[in-house]
């Protein structure tokens, strides 16, 4: 009999198995880039099933808990919120999951992603981990998620630790967070029996450093006019640096291949769209229903998402010269640089300075702040973003959506709003 907590994981594993077979049997121009990503996911889900079935320790954690440390300790982990991105595409269970989340006795103004994670826990859709490493940034909602996990019937009694993130970003704060990461290592050792080998950590971090450099290089190519990529290009780098195959040489090979392909496109002067008219900055994460909106933007308005919050990559490269420098720089990267954390925990100046650089460097024609209902931190910075865009002479649109729930503001409503905006601003 299949453990209830593995039901969704097994479905995911089977989905990626099918996808891999399909891609290998029907190769096309860019399938050599897609296949490694599918393999990374397949391997992840297979491992999760195997670990649970064999009773091996498995950790539930989050992308901003220095995943290099997990790799270096040879600990298998999964992210509880990733179930919302099932299939790495349009989530086939979305409506069911949303309705499940709606039924929870949880305030509906908490980020839907977090409410979905609460639902997954309550409904037994997540494998029961040996221990949990929480992430209590960037928002209040995620703290509520961990409280809900602690009290849920399914997960009650599971040991939990969360590195304590200071609000400030000075050296004292970074050192403090580095110490918290060391405490995380102790916690992991206590509950998995695995130990951290500093030499192995150095190897892993050196690989991720290279990956971040190559990611940066790929990003630079998006400055080309016309832009050689569409919105999908940011997913792979994020997945491979912070979720799957972290610090794995196979991931590094993917970056090298992706960059080589990208350079060919730029050299050929080939744009993603033949007639690019609008270079758009989507200044937040992609909605799970972007598969509907983004192609429409391209077809209807010749608008390309040149840059977005997940893709922009101002990550600290870790100094691997000593254990101290590694922990220090990993703390800095995870406390200050990671997507959403940089913007939501950091000062509004991060929003402001990133916005100026991106608009100028990437020749942005308009900025869209989608205003996800859970990103209240960003909502507090809308005025600042608007003022900056006025200074730069770039039109700015704040919409008001739910990144995970297309019922909140439907894709059609968003399309209508964006059409009105483009028309009023004389774009496209």
């Amino acid at each position: 009999m299949v453990d209830k907590g593995l039901e969704r994981t097994i479905a995911e594993r089977d989905h990626f198995e099918f996808l891999l077979k399909f891609l290998e049997e029907s190769p096309y121009e860019t399938s050599h880039l897609l296949i490694p990503l599918v393999k990374a996911n397949l391997e992840h889900y297979k491992d999760t099933v195997r670990y649970i079935e064999e009773g091996k320790p498995i950790i539930a954690s989050y992308f901003s808990n220095a995943p290099e440390i997990f790799t270096a300790m040879d600990i298998h982990w999964y992210c509880p919120v990733s179930a919302a991105f099932a299939g790495a595409g349009a989530n086939p269970y979305l409506m069911n999951d949303l309705e499940g989340a709606d039924k929870l006795a949880v305030s509906s103004d908490i980020c839907t992603l977090l409410r979905m994670a609460m639902y997954y826990t309550e409904a037994g859709l997540l494998p029961r981990p040996t221990a949990i490493v929480g992430m209590i940034i960037p928002c209040d909602g995620i703290v509520a998620l961990h409280e809900a996990s602690r009290r849920s019937k399914q997960w009650r009694g599971i040991p939990m630790f969360a590195p304590d993130p200071p609000y400030f970003t000075d050296e004292r704060s970074i050192d403090y967070f580095a110490q918290e990461l060391r405490r995380m290592v102790d916690f992991l050792t206590e509950h998995t029996g695995q130990k951290l080998d500093i030499g192995r950590l150095r190897e892993v971090v050196e690989v991720t450093n290279e990956q971040y450099k190559l990611w940066q290089e790929i990003n630079e190519l998006r400055r080309a006019v016309p832009c050689p990529f569409n919105w999908g290009v940011g997913g792979g780098p994020f997945a491979l640096t912070q979720n799957r195959w972290v610090g794995d040489l196979r991931g590094l090979e993917w970056f090298k291949a992706a960059l080589a392909d990208s350079e060919k496109l730029v050299k050929a002067g080939k744009g993603w769209l033949e007639n690019e008219k609008i270079r758009l900055l989507w200044f937040d994460v992609h909605p799970t229903w972007f598969f509907d909106l983004a192609p429409w933007l391209e077809e209807e308005w010749k608008a390309v998402i040149v840059m977005d919050m997940f893709s922009y990559c101002p990550y600290t490269l870790v100094d691997t010269s000593s254990e101290e420098t590694m922990f220090h720089d990993l703390a800095k990267r995870n406390l200050m640089d990671t997507t959403m954390i940089r913007q939501a925990v950091g000062v509004a100046d991060n929003f402001a300075s990133d916005l100026v650089r991106i608009v100028k460097d990437y020749k942005i024609d308009c900025v869209v702040w989608p205003a996800h209902m859970g990103h209240k931190d960003g909502a507090a910075s809308v005025g600042i973003m608007r003022e900056i865009c006025r200074d730069l002479g770039v039109p700015f649109l704040s919409i008001g959506i739910d990144t995970f729930d297309p019922r909140y503001t439907t894709p059609d409503e968003v399309k209508n709003t964006m059409s009105q905006f483009f028309t009023a601003m004389g774009l496209g």
């Binding site: 940066q216 400055r223 080309a224 990559c313 101002p314 509004a348 402001a352 650089r357 460097d361 005025g383």
Partner: protein, 264 residues
């Protein structure tokens, strides 16, 4: 305004210190007029002068890669005795001497103008990042570090630090008309030499942040801190914090009690 004057003086000491260490220090003079500055350049300068991209294979020299060090900052003053006009100082090898190299990179720009004040600070800061304005020269779109490339084509045309300095002067004088005089210091000699600049940069960045904050405050926004001023007595969220403290106290008592009973 004298906000950065002490640091302009420190830069003069820094250059002398580098001479004292035996570093190769070269100085170039150039005209003050932006039009004349542009006339002398081997590459185009101005909006859309470049695509903004230099591929790895087209790179003649890389500047400021994180592996070799990078530091950049800007100082401004209204004191004519501190900043002259059109002086470019290069400490270390020039572009043409460094084919295929990855050089450490320090860039300190010092500008002077009679009416320069905090209002111009943001524009001055932003103009350090040239985006697409210099043909054959690219700055990567990263925060916190100046990481650039010079293309093979530009190097063939004669692009060097004299060119870069002149181009930056033309860009600044055009974009911020209050800039009357400008000097540039480039450091490519050694990672440690660039790291020494960090000591000055750290202080300069603190001041810069304060000015940025002040400018935004005047527009009605605090971009660095909670505007409540950390006075709990005037904060409307005080009841929430009080409740959290109570919960923590209860929880701690509970944990203590559990530990005590399990020890017995």
């Amino acid at each position: 305004m004298a906000i950065f004057n002490a640091y302009v003086k420190k830069m003069a000491e820094y250059v002398e210190g580098m001479r004292g260490k035996g570093r190769q220090v070269r100085e170039f003079d150039c005209p003050g007029d932006p039009g004349k500055l542009l006339e002398e350049l081997p590459v185009r300068v101005g909006p859309e002068a470049s695509s903004g991209i230099i591929l790895r294979g087209d790179t003649f020299v890389e500047l400021g890669n994180p592996d070799v060090g990078s530091c950049a900052f800007l100082l401004w003053t209204d004191n004519p005795s501190l900043v002259g006009d059109g002086k470019i100082t290069l400490i270390g090898p020039n572009i043409q001497e460094s084919e295929g190299a990855s050089l450490p990179f320090g860039q300190v720009l010092m500008v002077r103008g009679a009416g320069l004040g905090k209002e111009e600070h943001s524009a001055l800061e932003q103009n350090q990042y040239i985006a697409d304005q210099i043909e054959g020269y690219m700055l990567k779109s990263t925060s916190e570090r100046m990481w650039g490339r010079v293309s093979k084509d530009a190097a063939t045309k004669g692009f060097d630090f004299d060119t870069l300095g002149k181009a930056l002067m033309a860009i600044f004088k055009t974009a911020v008309p209050k800039v009357q005089a400008m000097e540039a210091i480039f450091v490519t000699s050694d990672k440690e030499d660039v790291r020494h600049l960090d000591n000055i940069a750290e202080q300069v960045r603190k001041i810069s942040k304060d000015i940025t904050r002040e400018t935004w405050l005047a527009r009605g926004y605090d971009i660095l801190e909670c505007t409540l001023g950390w006075d709990c007595n005037t904060c409307s969220d005080k009841p929430v914090c009080d409740e959290i403290r109570e919960v923590i106290t209860v929880r701690k008592k509970k944990i203590r009690k559990t530990k005590t009973s399990s020890n017995q």
